[in-house]
């Protein structure tokens, strides 16, 4: 059994992130841990896997970690890692070699396993995550879901008794989530104890043995909270003139064509879910809609004007784009400066805009962090800042790329409010998402993209049903039609 006893931790010696955490994980069980953004889930993962206090120093650590009844206080990080492995949130940052087989062999090579046993471990670990076919692939050519599976396989090859997964479903499409469930079931059968840190409980719940919650630095049993439902306006003001239009768009990265002959009109009042598997071209489409990439062929019109003929500031006034990685779109040194940056650039600094910025930060639960360095915020807080800092000037069009990743219930509610507010003020919002439930509950249109082309476009009910009809059953298996 992997056990934490009276575990407490503080990064700065003042703010207690964990206080008296008692947690037990048995071999062969899947325990899910959920909690608000910044509640200490990832910190707990690093404590249990031994990185705190061994690799991450400077904080105040107390308590004990026991593995199979033995206190691990004197263990080195390498010794603990043989027993407990941690798969972190971003799989791309964890891959250190250029070939899939090298990556899986990396751990056993370091532990000086014999060549024959390394070969067997590489095969069995890849097979455990359903990735044997990736054996000879280069790591940089893998999709997000494949990288996630590789990260898990490369930990499994060290033969740990316990595995900790930090938000494994974060960027997976429904197919990837179903595969993740299968992997977790397989790990249970192999008697591996799993602690899964997750916001998206729907993804993991079916294979979980227990669900725990963390708040105020302590573990409690999880209680289901009713999700806030903001029903979109059913009557779309479908004026004849679209706010944003794509016409016969093609786009390639080098010789790889990623968008093929895409045409679409986006009207005011619409809340659109842009769906599709990993690597289907959703993010590229968002960049094209925002005028950030130039299409190879075709045109993008903002209102009636070709976006390529418009001044960048005029586009920014009307279109707000929020990307996936929050770190790539924070530029200033304090939360407040970051919040007012767009208003400053647009020469829109007035009392009203300052008031609006303050209100936005408060409603995003960031009001107390105005003087903080934005990079020191948690992932979910940074994502919310990305949104507040791009909507203070009331843009007509919101283009959000997977905004709900890493968001707790409060964060989700804030983002939902921002979306519905924009749509009901004669604007529109297009949200890239893998979550069919979000599409069904909150959107009035779904566009499904496959291989860079629009496969389906219509009301959520119609599109999701049609997806099931044409063999994408994963969209119903995740609970849409249940």
């Amino acid at each position: 059994m992997l056990e934490s006893q009276n575990l407490a931790y503080s990064y700065d010696g003042k703010t207690q992130i964990l206080r008296s955490v008692d947690l037990q994980i048995r071999q062969g069980e899947v325990v899910v841990l959920t909690g608000l953004t910044g509640s200490g889930k990832s910190t707990l993962a690093k404590c249990i896997s031994g990185f705190i206090p061994r690799s991450i120093e400077g904080g105040e650590f107390s308590g004990e970690i026991m593995i199979d009844g033995e206190n691990t206080g004197d263990y080195s990080i390498a010794e603990i890692s043989r027993l407990v492995s941690l798969v972190q949130q971003d799989p791309d940052s964890q891959i250190c070699t250029l070939k899939v087989s090298d990556e899986v062999a990396f751990g056993p090579e370091n532990y000086e396993f014999e060549l024959k046993s390394i070969e067997k471990l590489v095969e069995s670990s890849l097979s455990a995550v359903g990735a044997t076919h990736l054996h000879n692939r280069n790591t940089h050519t893998l999709s997000g879901g494949e990288k996630q599976r590789l990260a898990i396989a490369s930990m499994l090859s060290c033969q740990p008794k316990y595995l900790i997964l930090d938000e494994p479903s974060a960027s997976l499409d429904p197919k990837g989530i179903l595969l993740l469930r299968k992997i977790l079931s397989g790990l249970k059968d192999k008697n591996v104890g799993v602690l899964c840190i997750e916001h998206n409980l729907e993804a993991i719940q079916p294979v979980a043995d227990r669900i725990l919650s963390i708040s105020n630095g302590m573990i409690t049993d999880w209680n289901q909270i009713e999700e806030q439902t903001l029903t979109p306006s059913s009557t779309i003001v479908s004026s004849s003139k679209p706010l944003l239009a794509l016409e016969g768009i093609d786009f390639s990265y080098g010789s790889t064509k990623v968008i093929q002959d895409v045409s679409m009109n986006i009207y005011e009042g619409e809340i659109i879910a842009l769906m599709g598997g990993n690597g289907s071209g959703k993010t590229t489409l968002v960049s094209l809609l925002g005028g950030l990439l130039e299409p190879d062929t075709g045109h993008v019109h903002l209102g009636e004007t070709p976006i390529s003929d418009m001044d960048r500031k005029n586009i920014t006034k009307r279109v707000s784009v929020v990307f996936q990685n929050p770190n790539h779109q924070i530029f200033e040194r304090t939360v407040w400066k970051e919040q007012i940056l767009t208003s400053e650039i647009l020469d829109n600094m007035c009392e009203d805009s300052i008031e609006r910025s303050r209100n936005l930060l408060n409603s995003a639960n960031l009001g107390n962090f105005m003087d903080r360095n934005p990079f020191s915020l948690s992932h979910g807080q940074k994502r919310r800042l990305n949104i507040t800092s791009t909507i203070a000037h009331f843009p007509d069009i919101l283009l959000l790329d997977e905004p709900f990743i890493g968001q707790d219930q409060d964060g989700k509610s804030f983002i939902l409010n921002a979306i519905t507010e924009t749509a009901s003020a004669n604007g529109t919002a297009l949200v890239v998402t893998h979550n069919p439930n979000f599409a069904k509950k909150h959107c009035n249109r779904v566009i499904f993209v496959e291989n860079g082309s629009i496969l389906l476009d219509g009301s959520p009910e119609t599109v999701l049903q049609r997806l099931v009809d044409i063999g994408h059953s994963e969209y119903s298996e995740l609970g849409v039609n249940s």
């Binding site: 896997s49 990185f51 690799s55 990080i77 390498a78 890692s81 043989r82 492995s85 941690l86 972190q88 949130q89 971003d90 791309d92 940052s93 964890q94 250190c96 250029l98 087989s101 090298d102 062999a105 990396f106 751990g107 090579e109 370091n110 532990y111 000086e112 014999e114 060549l115 390394i118 070969e119 590489v122 054996h135 000879n136 790591t139 940089h140 990260a151 060290c158 080098g254 010789s255 960049s287 925002g290 950030l292 990439l293 960048r312 500031k313 920014t316 279109v319 707000s320 784009v321 990307f323 770190n327 790539h328 779109q329 924070i330 530029f331 040194r333 940056l341 650039i345 990079f375 791009t390």
Partner: protein, 269 residues
């Protein structure tokens, strides 16, 4: 079975350490004897090797275009600013009472060709090296030279993360564009702000990747022991020894040319 195929494929290739050595030797040679003729011959060989290795030069990509345009600019700039040598003509000829301006001399042209061809050779041969070298096998070769694997893996990691930083740079630029941030050059403060808006996000993203990567590597026993096993190993063959001799022969040849011991060959190279 797939593994076995991979080993055979690897063993059929030139040793990665030798590739590194040949790269260093090639670049050193043209620094010792900076002749445009020798650099151009080597450049042709490198381009042929691109074809033989089936590595695309990707001429359509902005970066390769930039490299070629930059080398042409180097040539033109040198030809324009070097006034020594026999005048071959003028950029602006003598017209009535106007001109002539900007003389083009044989020495200026030769100097321009030398600098441009050497620049192209250094960049293209490095590109070829990165494209045809398996970093894991290179790490193994370096370990055989008793270089601690902690250092040789730094090279593997650098090669792994180069494309990632490149794509992150593109995303940051798009994010700047979407916020209406445009590069500013008027005044020190504005330049500083432009640098800040590019480097802040890139730096923070890189630092967070460093932390994740070190946790991931430590968590898989990196540094557990002074030695480690290698799943795939590099090999050294007779052809590698012959290429090494050829490489050192080339360096000796460059020295002799530079010191004037081969006056007849100097007229050819």
């Amino acid at each position: 079975m797939e593994n076995q195929t991979e080993f055979i494929q690897d063993s059929g290739k030139t040793n990665p350490l030798l590739k590194l050595l040949l790269l260093i030797i090639t670049i050193s040679g043209i620094m010792i004897y900076p002749s445009w003729r020798l650099s151009s011959i080597l450049l042709v060989i490198v381009i042929l090797l691109f074809r033989v290795s089936r590595v695309s030069l990707k001429l359509s990509r902005n970066r390769t275009k930039f490299i070629i345009i930059f080398s042409i600019l180097l040539l033109v700039f040198q030809a324009l600013i070097t006034v020594n040598g026999t005048v071959l003509g003028f950029v602006i000829p003598h017209l009535n009472n106007f001109g002539p301006f900007f003389p083009i001399t044989d020495y200026g042209l030769e100097r321009g060709l030398s600098i441009a061809s050497r620049f192209l050779l250094v960049v293209l041969s490095s590109m070829l090296f990165v494209a045809v070298t398996d970093p894991t096998l290179l790490a193994h070769s370096l370990t055989r030279l008793r270089i601690p694997y902690r250092y040789s893996f730094a090279l593997v990691i650098a090669l792994r993360f180069l494309p990632l930083f490149d794509s992150e740079n593109q995303v940051v630029r798009m994010a700047q564009k979407s916020r209406g941030i445009q590069p500013e050059v008027g005044g020190f403060r504005k330049i500083l702000r432009t640098i800040q808006y590019t480097f802040f996000p890139l730096l923070v993203s890189s630092l967070s990747r460093v932390e994740s990567l070190s946790i991931s590597m430590d968590g898989r026993g990196f540094g557990y022991s002074e030695n480690r096993t290698y799943f795939r190993k590099s090999t050294w063959k007779i052809s590698d020894s012959l290429l090494t001799i050829l490489g050192f022969g080339y360096i000796l040849f460059c020295f002799l040319l530079a010191l004037g011991f081969l006056p007849y060959l100097a007229t050819i190279f």
